[in-house]
């Protein structure tokens, strides 16, 4: 810039010099021209004087001629010419006189000339008078010739003088003419030289300016782009001219098209959101009066599309070189930042809630966790981990060392190895370990961990589950299971004992009795025979008891394998088993087409066997027993009982007889083990059969009910889930 300023000074100097030179040249030229003109005039005047002088002499000679001609001829016609010449002489004389006053002719000479002319004229008049008198003219003529000669002599002298003057003047004029072109030429050359220099300098400056301009243009574009990318815009307001100028991006920020018509200040202010406008105007006024600058204020503005945009505005009041107050402002679009911030804070709030939830969840689930930043080597422990370690998360600190020290000494070595291996994907056989809490209590923990990269950082997140209660429960469960297993084994042994060993002696008793009673060569007598029969009955009863007990224990203990089974086929099997009794009693059994269900087949068969044999057993005397096995519609009560199962997943069957029935009062107690409603002598039975039925139904997660009236037959109704007990959540 300084170079430009300097060259500007030089240029200004050069310009002044060249202008001065040109003015000088013009002045000199003018002066020269003037003096030349003057000298030319003088020359002209000299020529004119010469001519006037010669005219004068010619007129005098002419007058002489006319006089003589008149004298000789007496013709008055010559008098006219004579008078004309006289006038012309006076005229010429006047001219000469005026020239004399102009300084062209020596006045002294002119006076003498005038005098001579006057004398000559007087001589003419005298001659004319003499002629008129007729006197001798010779003297006068001679005198006249002499005077004319004198005049001629004077005129010649004057002409010569004038010639000298002319020569002198011409010389002078020529001289001045000769000097000025050289001077002018050289001066013009100088001026041209200077102007050329100026031209060269100017072109260079112009080139520089152009270059600078190009750069400026590029910078301007860059600036525009930068503004667009950074979401900034700028503006300035000239208080003097009251003009507001926006940068391209400023237009965009306000939702306008760049290079639209320039807005007015009040229009701009209208764009500012109501909430911020008053404050902005107050600040601008303050700036105007104090020439201060505003570091940045956040405003909301409404765009053309009525969108709210957040901008940060920095303003400064400056004065230009003419003292005009200009307010400049730079804005940054913070909308996305504000939105992002808002989002971020929302996320933060969510995160906080989630952290709280997590910490609650950790507490509920008895889980603690920590994360380890492998790059920084820093730990972050969850608050529930503090609780697990029986530390106060608010007031106590947890460090790596403290945490590692809490690990039970017996598990520490193993865990150290794990800790060193972490980083390599390894699955560990056991992920359980013990810790000692701050209160020296042993707790059982289980860990899972995950290694991951979070924005380039290696993070290890370890989750610890407090398994203490589970472990204790598990241990007691394991013990109980063991006990159960033992008792089951014992029961199985008992079952075998009951089914084999217990029946063995009984069978022999029975067999021996049968032998004795069939032996022909033994006489027992009627009493003996009766006793033997009683022994036989007792033995049979005992056998039934054993068999039923076995069946009952099988329904309780045996493996419950569910299979999709056709219930009708189970009914048929049961009827086959009871074939003998049915024939004996001449009973009729009706049964519907029964559905298929997921059941334990042998148990359901047992159920049918027991219920049908019950119906046969408690039949009325002298009435043909009839049994109906039917599908039944589900009642509201059934749906209440099975609220977790939909209607189409349940089956309901009933087994009805026309037997003796029982009082509804006993509807519940018939299912109780060993409970009997009748005397043994009336009806044999062990009181186990219906208990087995109830057990079977329980195994299938169903319900069974009895309905009866004394003498009106009995109905046993049971409901089963089609999919069996397996699919049900207990």
């Amino acid at each position: 810039m300084s170079i430009l300023e300097l060259s500007e000074n030089y240029l200004r100097g050069a310009f002044v010099i060249s202008v001065t030179l040109l003015i000088f040249i013009a002045g000199v030229s003018y002066k020269q021209f003037h003096s030349y003109h003057k000298s030319q005039q003088l020359v002209m005047q000299s020529h004119y004087s010469q001519k006037s002088l010669q005219t004068l002499i010619s007129h005098i000679t002419g007058m002489e001629t006319y006089q003589r001609s008149f004298i000789i001829s007496g013709d008055s016609a010559f008098l006219e010419g004579y008078a004309g010449q006289n006038d012309k002489i006076s005229e010429s004389m006047e001219k000469l006189k005026s020239m004399g006053t102009d300084g062209n002719i020596n006045l002294a000479h002119l006076d003498s000339m005038e005098r001579l002319v006057r004398e000559r004229k007087a001589l003419f008049d005298d001659t004319m008078t003499l002629f008129a008198e007729g006197a001798s003219l010779g003297d006068n003529l001679r005198k006249g010739n002499g005077q004319t000669r004198k005049i001629r002599g004077l005129i010649e002298h004057l002409v010569a003088d004038q010639g000298e003057l002319l020569a002198e003047r011409e010389n002078a004029s020529e001289k001045s003419y000769r000097i000025s072109p050289i001077l002018m030429f050289s001066t013009i050359l100088l001026a041209l030289f200077i102007i050329s220099l100026v031209f060269i300098a100017l072109t260079q400056i112009l080139r520089k300016y152009n270059k600078a301009n190009r750069k400026l243009n590029i910078n301007n574009e860059i600036f525009k782009q930068a503004e667009e990318i950074s979401g900034t815009g700028h503006w300035y307001y000239n208080f003097h001219s009251q003009t507001l100028v926006f940068s391209d991006n400023q237009y965009r920020l306000l939702g306008l098209t760049p290079n639209g018509s320039p807005p007015k200040l009040h229009q701009f202010l209208q764009k500012v959101h109501r909430d911020d406008r008053t404050e902005l105007i107050r600040k601008l006024k303050y700036l105007y009066h104090n020439e201060a600058c505003e570091e940045g204020m956040d405003l909301k503005i409404l765009t053309e599309e009525d969108m709210v945009r957040c901008i940060r505005m920095a303003c400064k009041m400056i004065s230009d070189d003419q003292g005009n107050k200009i307010l400049i402002g730079v804005n940054k679009d913070l909308t996305s930042e504000v939105n992002a911030k808002e989002k971020l804070s929302q996320l933060n709030r969510k995160l906080e809630i989630q952290i709280k939830m997590l910490s609650n969840a950790e507490m509920m689930a008895a889980v603690g966790s920590y994360s380890y930043d492998q790059d920084k080597g820093t730990y972050e422990f969850s608050s529930n981990l503090f609780r697990i370690l029986e530390l106060d998360p608010e007031n106590e600190e947890l460090t790596e060392e403290k945490f590692l020290n809490a690990i039970h000494p017996e598990d520490r070595v193993r865990l150290e190895k794990v800790r060193k291996k972490v980083g390599v994907a390894t699955v560990f056989e056991s992920n359980e370990f013990r810790i000692l809490t701050s209160k020296e209590k042993v707790r059982f923990l289980k860990y899972t961990y995950k290694l991951f990269k979070e924005s380039g950082k290696k993070m290890l997140v370890v989750t610890l589950k407090d398994m203490t209660e589970e472990t204790i429960t598990k241990k007691s469960l394991e013990e109980k299971n063991k006990e159960l297993y033992h008792s089951n084994a014992e029961l199985a042994e008992f079952n075998y004992f009951a089914s084999h060993d217990l029946q063995e002696p009984l069978r022999k008793i029975q067999t021996f009795i049968s032998r004795i009673t069939t032996m022909e060569d033994i006489h027992l007598g009627s009493k003996g025979e009766d006793y033997f029969k009683r022994i036989q009955r007792a033995a049979n009863r005992m056998q039934n008891l054993i068999i039923d007990l076995l069946a009952f224990s099988r329904t309780t203990n045996s493996e419950k394998i569910f299979e999709i089974t056709d219930l009708q086929s189970l009914v048929i099997q049961a009827l086959n088993e009871l074939n003998q009794e049915i024939e004996e009693k001449n009973a009729i059994v009706h049964y519907d087409v029964l559905p298929t269900a997921n059941v334990i087949p042998f148990q359901i068969k047992q159920l049918f066997v027991n219920l049908i044999s019950n119906a046969l057993k408690y039949s009325k005397n002298k009435v043909q027993p009839e049994i109906w096995i039917k599908n039944e519609p589900l009642t509201q009560q059934d749906l209440v009982d099975f609220n977790s199962i939909s209607v189409d997943k349940l089956i309901k069957l009933s087994i009805k007889d026309n037997g003796i029935g029982f009082d509804q009062e006993y509807a519940e107690s018939v299912f109780v083990l060993f409970k009997r409603l009748h005397n043994r002598s009336q009806f044999s039975g062990t009181g186990i059969g219906l208990s087995i039925c109830k057990k079977v139904i329980e195994n299938h997660r169903g319900t069974i009910r009895a309905h009866s009236e004394e003498g009106q037959g009995a109905t046993f109704t049971f409901v089963l889930p089609i999919l069996g007990g397996q699919t049900l959540v207990p």
Binding site: H500, E504, R507, T511, S514, R515, T518
Partner: protein, 148 residues
């Protein structure tokens, strides 16, 4: 006469049962000779001993000391000389497991010891007069258990 004799072999540790068994067979008058042993070991020895007649049917009690009925059955079926023997299981047990095990191992029939002497007689009569050749070929589970 001696050539028409039917030899049956019974392995049962229970003295009473052996008594019922031979009494029942004798009362049937089928010209049958009953050989009885007291346990599985004795049974195998008897079977392997040369000079002993080849039994028409071997009756096996399951629950015996030293060597049980199931073990004997396995051994018999493995032995090339004995595997063609007809084996009838003769047990107090009516457990499904025992029935299935003996069936799978190739026993020909399962007799649950009856608690009536007359029933026993009937059962023996059926078993001894059974045509084993037909029986061994169309074996099925339903006819495996003897119904008296």
């Amino acid at each position: 006469m001696a050539q028409d004799q039917i030899h049956v072999l019974l392995a049962d540790d229970d003295e009473d049962d052996r008594l019922f068994f031979s009494d029942a067979i004798h009362q049937l008058n089928l010209n049958t000779v009953v050989h009885a042993v007291e346990d599985g070991e004795e049974l195998m020895n008897w079977l392997r001993k040369e000079g002993n007649p080849r039994p028409h049917v071997v009756f096996l009690d399951l629950n015996m000391p030293k060597k049980g009925g199931i073990e004997c059955l396995e051994e018999i079926k493995k032995c090339p000389h004995l595997k063609e023997l007809s084996v009838a299981i003769y047990s107090t047990s009516s457990s499904q497991k025992d029935i299935e095990d003996s069936f799978v191992l190739g026993a020909n029939i399962y007799i649950k010891k009856p608690n009536d002497f007359n029933v026993l007689k009937k059962a023996m009569g059926k078993v001894i007069s059974m045509n084993w050749q037909f029986c061994t070929s169309g074996l099925n589970k339903e006819s495996f258990i003897l119904n008296v």
